[in-house]
C-alpha cells in the first residue's frame, strides 16, 4: 500500500513517523511529546507501543495505531476510534468491542485505511511525518489522486506489487483477510499484550524536539529568483524517482536495526583522557574519527583521542545504544581497526573484539584501544 496519507483537522493528535502513526485524544499531550521523539528517530510499532503503555492503560481510554510494513498493515484501536480498511479481501470495519483491551489486526494487501476519531470530515490535507491535530486520517489510495507526480509509473507499479502480495508468508494473515468474523480475534490476542503495562517500562521524559524536524518554521525567505526564460528546448535527463523497494538493503540477519537516538542514555563512557560521554546516540572514537551518512537529527558524538604511536586507527571503535536483546545497554563494535580493541568485562576474561561484531557492554567493562587509551563503561 502506498503510505500517502491525508487528514481532516480536529483536536486529536496524530504522531506520524515514517511507517507508524499513533493517534491520541487532545488530553494526551504529555504522551505525544515522548512518542514524537521516538517516532522521529525511526522507532517501530513495538517501541512506540511500549512507550504508549509506559504510563498504564487506565489513563489511556482511547488510541489508535497504524503501522505499515513492506507487505502488511497493522492496526490497533482502543476506545472510540473506528478503522475502515479496504484490502484485497474486501472492506471491513475495525472497532474495539466495549470491555476489551483493544482490537488489533494485521492485514496484507491493504489498499486504503481510514481511521475516524471524531466526526467524518473529508481528509484533504496532506499528512507528512510530524505532529498534526486531526479528526480523521486516511492512508493509501487517495480519493483524489495527487496531480503531477514526477514519476507516474512508480506508484502504479508499487500498487500492482502489493496487490499480488497476499500470496503471503503467514497463513494467519490470509485467514484474517478472508474471514469476515475476525472482529473476535483481538480478544484472543489481548491477554498477551495486557501484561505489558505491568512491566516497569522506563519513564521516557519529554525531550525537546530535534532540529530539522517538520516543526521548523519553513517560512519562505525570499522571492522567486529571476531567471532568463527565453528558450524553448530543454533536454535535461535527470529525473526524480522513488527508491525501488526491492533494493532496500535488508538488516543483518538476527540483528534488529538500532534506534538512532534514545531518549535516555544507556551508559556513560569515562575516557582515560578525562572525557565523559553519554551513550544516548552513536559514539565514534578514534585518532581522527569520521562520521558518515547520518541524518541531521542523529549526529554522532565524535571523540578524538591522542595516539602518539599511531596505535589507534582514525575511526577505531563505535559504541551505541543497543536494540532488540541488547535494548537498554550499550554495544561496542570495533570498526576494523589496525591494532584491535581489547574488552575486559567484570568477571570475564579479557577478549579481543572481532571487527564488525557488536558486543553488549555491562557496567564496569573496560575497553582498551592501545596507546594507553581506555574507556570505562559506567551506568548513565
Amino acid at each position: 500500500m502506498s503510505t500517502e496519507a491525508r487528514f481532516a483537522p480536529g483536536d486529536w493528535y496524530a504522531v506520524v513517523g515514517d511507517r507508524v502513526t499513533v493517534l491520541l485524544p487532545g488530553s494526551q499531550r504529555g504522551r505525544v511529546a515522548t512518542l514524537w521523539d521516538l517516532a522521529d528517530s525511526g522507532a517501530g510499532a513495538d517501541v512506540l507501543l511500549d512507550a504508549l503503555l509506559a504510563g498504564g492503560l487506565s489513563t489511556l481510554d482511547h488510541f489508535a495505531l497504524v503501522a505499515h510494513d513492506d507487505d502488511a498493515t497493522r492496526l490497533i484501536v482502543r476506545g472510540a476510534p473506528t478503522a475502515t480498511v479496504s484490502s484485497t479481501g474486501g472492506d471491513e470495519i475495525l472497532t474495539a468491542a466495549p470491555g476489551t483491551t483493544w482490537a488489533e489486526q494485521v492485514l496484507a494487501g491493504v489498499s486504503s485505511v481510514r481511521v475516524t476519531l471524531t466526526g467524518d470530515g473529508s481528509a484533504d490535507h496532506r499528512l507528512t511525518p510530524g505532529l498534526a491535530r486531526v479528526s480523521a486520517v486516511e492512508f493509501g489510495t487517495p480519493s483524489a489522486p495527487a496531480a503531477g507526480g514526477s514519476a507516474p509509473d512508480e506508484p502504479a507499479a508499487e500498487a500492482a506489487d502489493v496487490a499480488e502480495a497476499p500470496v503471503g508468508d503467514e497463513p494467519v494473515q490470509d485467514a484474517v483477510v478472508e474471514d469476515p468474523a475476525v472482529e473476535d480475534e483481538p480478544v484472543a490476542e489481548a491477554p498477551a499484550v495486557e501484561s505489558a503495562p505491568d512491566e516497569p517500562a522506563p519513564a521516557t521524559p519529554a525531550a525537546p524536539l530535534q532540529f530539522g524536524s517538520p516543526e521548523d518554521d519553513p517560512t519562505p525567505t525570499g522571492e522567486t529568483p529571476a531567471v532568463q526564460d527565453d528558450w524553448s528546448d530543454r533536454d535535461g535527463q535527470t529525473q526524480v524517482g522513488t527508491p525501488h523497494p526491492e533494493f532496500e538493503r535488508p538488516p543483518i540477519p538476527g540483528q534488529e536495526i538500532g534506534p538512532d537516538v534514545v531518549a535516555q542514555p544507556v551508559a556513560s563512557l569515562v575516557f582515560s583522557t578525562g572525557d565523559v560521554v553519554s551513550v544516548d546516540r552513536t559514539v565514534l572514537v578514534g585518532r581522527a574519527p569520521e562520521a558518515r551518512r547520518f541524518a541531521s537529527h542523529d549526529q554522532p558524538h565524535v571523540v578524538t583521542v591522542p595516539s602518539p604511536h599511531q596505535e589507534i586507527s582514525s575511526t577505531h571503535l563505535e559504541i551505541r545504544p543497543g536494540a532488540g536483546a541488547d535494548h537498554g545497554s550499550a554495544v561496542a563494535t570495533d570498526l576494523g581497526s589496525t591494532n584491535g580493541t581489547v574488552l575486559a568485562q567484570p568477571g570475564l576474561d579479557a577478549e579481543e573484539l572481532k571487527p564488525g561484531i557488536a558486543v553488549s557492554l555491562i557496567p564496569g567493562a573496560v575497553l582498551d584501544l592501545g596507546d594507553g587509551v581506555t574507556i570505562q563503561v559506567t551506568n548513565p
Binding site: 532540529f211 521548523d216 517560512t219 519562505p220 525567505t221 529568483p225 583522557t273 581522527a288
Partner: protein, 271 residues
C-alpha cells in the same frame, strides 16, 4: 575557526548539448554549495538558485558552533520554497515539476574543534584528496547506486544503465528530504571537490584525481575539471568547486601533548 584559511575556485559550463545551465553554485567561505537543477520550463535553474540563495543567507550570519543545525534549516527553507514554487506552477501546468540536487560543505566547530560538515542530496558528488588519493565521500541517492549497493550491477554497468539519471532523493521531492551528513576532521581533507554529474558523468575518477593532484591553484583546477568534462562531450551542465585548506593547524590535543613530551625528554624530565 579563524585559524583556517581557505582558498577556493569554481567553474561552470552549460556544456555542448543543453541550452540552459541549470546548475548553480555558491562560494561564500566557509560555505560552499553545488546544486544541479532539474525540471521543465524554468524549473531546474530556479530550484538550484533557491538552494544557493538559502545557503547565501546562511553564510551571511553563519555561526560555526551551530553549523549542523543551520545547514538542516537551510535545507528545510529551500525545500519549502521549491515545493511552493512547484505547486504554484502545477496549478497552471499539470505534470510540471522543479527539483534540484545539492552538495554542501561548511566548516563547523564540533566539541571545540573545527571540522568539515558535508551534506548531499541526489547525485552531485563530494570528493576529497586524502593522503594524495582521490576518494568519493558522498554516496549518490540514485537508482543505480542502490543497484550497485545491492550487488545487482557493477559501477561499470551503472555508467550505461538506462536509469542512470534517476535520483531517489532531491530537494523539491514531495516525499520530503533526507540529506546525508558527513563529519570529517579538517586534517583528513587535503583538497575538497564539489561537482555536478555533468563532471562525473563525462570523465573518469582517474582523470579527476590527475587534475586535482597536478593543478596547484584551486581556481585553475576547477576550470580544468569543467573544461575536461566539456571536451569529453559536454552532454550536461558541468560545475566544479575546489577548496583547499591553507595553513592547516594540526589536531590541538595531539600536537601539544607530543610537543610537551618531546620537550620534557630534551630537558631531562624537569618540566
Amino acid at each position: 575557526m579563524l585559524d583556517v584559511d581557505l582558498h577556493h575556485g569554481a567553474s561552470t559550463d552549460v556544456g555542448l548539448v543543453r541550452k540552459v545551465n541549470e546548475d548553480s553554485y555558491l562560494v561564500a567561505p566557509p560555505v560552499f554549495v553545488v546544486a544541479d537543477g532539474m525540471g521543465g520550463h524554468s524549473g531546474g535553474d530556479v530550484a538550484s538558485q533557491m538552494v544557493v540563495e538559502e545557503f547565501q543567507r546562511l553564510a551571511e550570519s553563519y555561526d560555526p558552533q551551530r553549523g549542523a543545525e543551520l545547514v538542516a534549516d537551510a535545507f528545510t527553507r529551500a525545500q519549502a520554497r521549491i515545493v511552493d514554487y512547484g505547486d504554484a506552477h502545477r496549478a497552471l501546468q499539470p505534470g510540471w515539476h522543479a527539483g534540484t540536487t545539492a552538495v554542501v560543505a561548511v566548516l563547523v566547530v564540533d566539541d571545540g574543534v573545527t571540522k568539515w560538515l558535508l551534506a548531499n542530496l541526489g547525485d552531485s558528488r563530494i570528493y576529497r584528496i586524502v593522503e594524495r588519493r582521490l576518494e568519493q565521500v558522498s554516496v549518490d541517492h540514485s537508482v543505480v547506486q542502490e543497484l550497485i549497493d545491492s550487488g545487482h550491477i557493477t559501477s561499470e554497468e551503472a555508467a550505461v544503465h538506462p536509469e542512470r539519471h534517476v535520483i531517489t532523493r532531491a530537494l523539491g521531492s514531495p516525499e520530503g528530504i533526507q540529506p546525508d551528513f558527513f563529519l570529517l576532521p579538517l586534517g583528513s581533507v587535503e583538497r575538497l571537490l564539489l561537482c555536478s554529474d555533468g563532471v562525473t558523468g563525462m570523465i573518469e575518477d582517474e582523470e579527476i584525481e590527475e587534475i586535482l593532484e597536478s593543478v596547484a591553484d584551486p581556481r585553475d583546477a576547477a576550470d580544468a575539471l569543467v573544461r575536461a568534462a566539456v571536451a569529453a562531450g559536454g552532454r550536461d551542465n558541468a560545475t566544479a568547486v575546489v577548496v583547499d585548506v591553507v595553513g592547516l593547524v594540526k589536531d590541538a590535543t595531539y600536537d601539544s601533548r607530543r610537543q610537551l613530551e618531546s620537550l620534557e625528554s630534551k630537558l631531562g624530565g624537569r618540566l
